[in-house]
């Protein structure tokens, strides 16, 4: 009777400590007004993208069903005007946010997975394993990411999955370096030495001690990487390597360039996707920086 109670109490203590820490993190984060602003805008954008089917069904993007004139300037009916096919640019913009955000998150996930695993391995193991891993990381650091992504996309064929893979595979090296240095720091601490002395194996040290210690850093880095992944997605779509039938911000800019919207003075088709990219990427950067300063107090006040 008393044992389960004690156990329950122990769990409660740990949970309480976690809750307390979470509240602290949130307070520290919330005290960074730039980060908070970024977060609010991001939540708004993500909610908008998630709920758009309720306001504008996919049929508004079906060119055979639209009735508005082509390249129409902004009006009450179409607040951001229409594209060369007569679709509402506002609807395109919000539908495009879905692809841009999904690709941004998915590519970041791929990149973080590879970066964390390789980074921890490179920091934990020594000798030949480390040397080989480090050279691989160096290789991906010096290879121009955009060019490699373009080559990958043209080899695998255009599509959303291709872009996710191309960005993920080319952008993990920086994370790996970061995770490796954190791994080295953590592993030189006395408690790891104690764990070794008590007979812990590689698996135990990596998963129980190193991983929890690098996770906050990875999280902060993730938020920063989403931003650059969204830019990379826009770039690849702009170069015509995305799925041509799905709408993303980069694909909108490509279509604007291809159809001569700039020469035609149709600013309502060029500006919104460009500004949307800037705003969302800026927000991700702000949130990421704020998170970083929470995790790493030495950054505060700089």
């Amino acid at each position: 009777m008393s044992a389960p109670a004690a156990q329950g109490k122990r769990i409660n203590v740990a949970a309480a400590r976690r809750r307390q820490r979470a509240v602290e993190v949130w307070k520290e984060f919330a005290s960074n007004r730039a980060g908070l602003t970024g977060l609010i805008i991001l939540v708004f954008v993500i909610a908008l993208a998630a709920l758009i089917p309720l306001f504008a069904p996919p049929s508004v993007l079906d060119v055979t069903q639209v009735t508005s004139p082509q390249n129409d300037p902004p009006s009450l009916e179409n607040p951001l005007g229409t594209d060369p096919a007569g679709r509402s640019v506002l609807a395109l913009l919000i539908w495009g946010a879905r692809i841009s955000l999904v690709v941004g998150f998915a590519a970041t996930l791929v990149s973080m997975l590879i970066g964390t695993v390789v980074g921890m391995a490179a920091g934990h193991f020594t000798g030949a394993t480390q040397a080989v891993l480090m050279r691989i990381i160096d290789f991906f650091l010096v290879v121009p990411g955009l060019v490699l992504a373009i080559v990958l996309s043209s080899v695998i064929g255009p599509g959303v999955a291709t872009i996710v893979v191309a960005i993920g595979v080319t952008s993990w090296a920086g994370t790996a370096r970061l995770v490796r240095s954190q791994t080295l720091t953590v592993e030189s601490r006395p408690y790891i030495e104690r764990a070794w002395a008590l007979g812990a194996g590689d698996g135990h040290v990596i998963t129980k001690h190193v991983l929890p210690a690098v996770m906050p850093l990875v999280l902060a880095n993730t938020t920063l990487t989403v931003g650059s992944a969204i830019i990379a997605e826009s770039t690849l779509s702009f170069l015509g390597l995305g799925d041509p039938s799905s709408i993303s911000w980069g694909a909108m800019l490509k279509s604007a360039l291809d159809t001569g919207a700039a020469t035609g003075g149709y600013w309502w088709y060029v500006m919104p996707p460009g500004l949307a990219i800037v705003v969302v990427v800026l927000c991700f950067t702000l949130v990421g920086r704020a998170l970083e300063s929470v995790i790493n107090p030495t950054l505060r006040g700089r």
């Binding site: 702009f238 170069l239 600013w267 702000l286």
Partner: protein
């Protein structure tokens, strides 16, 4: 300009703590924008003063070679068309065969012997006399040397012998009678230059060339473009301008801006949006000329190689002509013309565009015009049952899922796919679009690795070549080498009609046969011609008088069958070079810069321009 500044400033105010980033972005935006504005203006004043005597054109395609035996890309052959002449040419008025290098010609009763008579006083651009021996040397060089057959070898396949019986008479003896004039298209080169060349096949011919056309190449360099000067000895009289220069531009919008600032004098290949924007400009005259190109959606009816073995991975269900007919009837090509081209084109019937009335299939009532109900009825009757998910099953019980291929370099392909996918969904066919690099589309179309794809051919005044590539003998080898087939389709019935028109010397009868041949292709529903797009052009009317178009009524200036458009260039006497710089629309300069800046910078930009350069060179 204002809008850019305001937006970055608001960004700064909203997020005061992100000063670093905000300042960085603002600096980047403001730093780039004036640069974009200043550069074109500066270069306009530089080049503006000397203009009026040289016609400056954008060089947007690739040049493979300036050797007329080797060059096959459209850009190269257009340039060489200014420098060399054929024995006969095509008139600017209506594309009729007219005397060019030869003054007159006669055909024997049986159509086998063609005798061309040369004028006695003609000279090359370097002053050497031009005689029938030059033509004989050119023809014989191609016949004797396989390396020289690349560009025009097929034109001489039916020519048994060539002989200059005297300095001013050339006799061509054919293997069998043919209706198309054997002296058209093929450029004749000066013997006194080319016989001195060690290997004519590798001769670059890229500087100080000698020709008989209105302009000759002074020099060519991939980075600086092509410079041509007027030929003082051109038999129709020296051109009214000193020369023509082709300036490389890798991007359509950049070339449009260059036209606005006066860096170039004429442009073609505009998009509807660019065309409509230029229509508003003072000092610029736009020309929407009836194009000589058809745009089609090809359907893979079962590709076979020249030995009759299956090729490629086309969906076998498409071998049923009823299914292909239903697909054609589900596509509203008039809506495509209205919405994708904004009406800047002509509704299509067969493959020969309306600009060639002699061979155009002129009808108002197409058998398979847009009719989705009838299309659904045909499919029901043919046994394509509707599945639960709204996708029909083919006769073997598999869902009808088709691929639609297009070029990623041509924006209209994706725009058309956006329409065609829902239209075909309406008749229970599921379609996915795949836009590929132009070279990949060429390969896949030859090998039959497609279900449906967008294609288009520029058609010459004589339909013989276009029809010839539908013959059973014009099918590729198993590895894709050898001949090309227009639709990877052939029929003995078509071959018979082709052969009949090829040797028919009576014009009226031949026209009927060519129309019949087009109807056969149409009835097979393998090449659904959607429209004939207009060629959208614009030129600086403050510098040049109106140009000669081909044909005279509603024709094109650039991309003619012959040099007439550029040859007719006449400078406006009082050139107001300063006025040229005033017309720049600042928004038009800023917007692309902002877009590009946001998306990833100039590296990306140059890359896309490189990719575009290979686009749509197919003639």
């Amino acid at each position: 300009m204002t809008s850019t500044r305001t937006s970055t400033q608001t960004g700064e105010r909203k997020i005061p703590l992100a000063r670093k980033i905000g300042a960085l972005l603002t600096a980047a935006a403001i730093g780039l924008v004036p640069g974009g504005l200043v550069i074109p203006a500066a270069s306009a004043t530089e080049t503006g003063t000397e203009s009026g005597t040289t016609l400056k054109l954008p060089l947007t395609g690739d040049i493979d070679s300036l050797n007329p035996f080797i060059a096959i890309l459209a850009t190269s052959t257009n340039i060489l068309g200014l420098q060399y002449e054929g024995l006969v040419g095509y008139s600017a008025e209506n594309n009729e065969v007219i005397p060019e290098m030869a003054e007159s010609w006669e055909t024997s009763e049986d159509g086998i012997t063609w005798t061309f008579t040369f004028a006695e006083d003609r000279v090359w651009s370097d002053g050497e006399p031009l005689t029938a021996n030059d033509a004989a040397w050119t023809f014989q060089a191609i016949q004797e040397n396989d390396a020289l057959k690349q560009a025009n070898g097929s034109l001489l396949e039916n020519v048994a012998s060539v002989e200059a019986t005297d300095d001013y008479t050339l006799v061509l003896t054919l293997n069998e009678a043919q209706a198309p004039n054997p002296g058209s298209v093929l450029p004749v080169v000066p013997e006194h230059v080319w016989s001195e060349v060690e290997d004519p096949a590798t001769f670059e011919n890229a500087s100080d060339a000698v020709g008989s056309g209105p302009f000759t190449v002074v020099d060519y360099n991939p980075t600086s473009g092509v410079t041509m000067k007027a030929n003082p000895n051109y038999w129709q009289g020296e051109a009214k301008i000193d020369g023509v220069t082709y300036v490389p531009y890798r991007n359509g919008d950049a070339a449009v801006q260059a036209l606005l600032t006066g860096e170039i004098d004429m442009i073609n290949g505009l998009t509807p949006a660019q065309f409509q924007a230029l229509e508003q400009e003072e000092n610029i005259t736009t020309n929407s000329g009836a194009g000589r190109r058809y745009q089609a959606m090809n359907i893979n009816s079962g590709t076979k190689d020249v030995d009759g073995n299956d090729m490629g991975n086309g969906n076998p269900a498409l071998q049923d002509v009823e299914l292909r007919k239903a697909i054609v009837m589900a596509i509203d090509s008039n809506t495509l013309l209205e919405r994708v081209l904004e009406g800047l084109g002509t509704p299509a019937t067969g493959e020969i565009p309306a600009v060639y009335p002699l061979y155009h299939w002129d009808t108002e009532e197409l058998p398979y015009a847009y009719d989705p109900e009838e299309s659904n009825r045909i499919l029901d009757e043919a046994g394509y049952e509707m599945g639960d998910d709204g996708v029909r099953l083919d006769l073997e019980g598999n869902p009808l899922e088709l691929r639609l291929m297009g070029r990623n370099s041509d924006p209209t392909h994706q725009q058309m796919a956006d329409f065609i996918i829902p239209w075909l969904a309406e008749i229970g066919i599921s379609v996915t679009s795949e836009m590929k690099a132009p070279a990949q589309v060429n390969d896949d179309s030859i090998l039959g690795n497609y279900d449906m794809y967008f294609t288009g051919w520029g058609i010459g005044p004589d339909p013989d070549f276009q029809m010839s590539i539908n013959q059973c003998s014009s099918r590729p080898n198993a590895d894709g080498t050898g001949a090309t087939n227009e639709s990877n389709w052939c029929s003995p019935e078509f071959d018979a009609i082709y052969a009949a028109q090829h040797t028919e010397l009576d014009q009226e009868r031949r026209s009927e046969l060519v129309v019949d041949a087009q109807k056969l292709i149409y009835d097979a529903a393998v090449n659904n011609v959607l429209y004939y797009a207009d060629a959208l052009e614009a030129y600086r009317s403050d510098r040049f008088e109106p140009f000669v178009t081909q044909p005279t009524e509603g024709g094109v200036i650039l991309g003619q069958n012959g040099p007439w458009g550029i040859y007719s260039a006449t400078p406006v006497s009082s050139v107001d070079a300063e006025g040229a710089t005033a017309t720049t629309n600042p928004a038009a300069v800023i917007l692309p810069i902002v877009g590009v800046l946001l998306v990833g910078g100039l590296v990306a930009f140059f890359l896309v321009k490189r990719r575009r350069s290979t686009a749509d060179e197919r003639e």
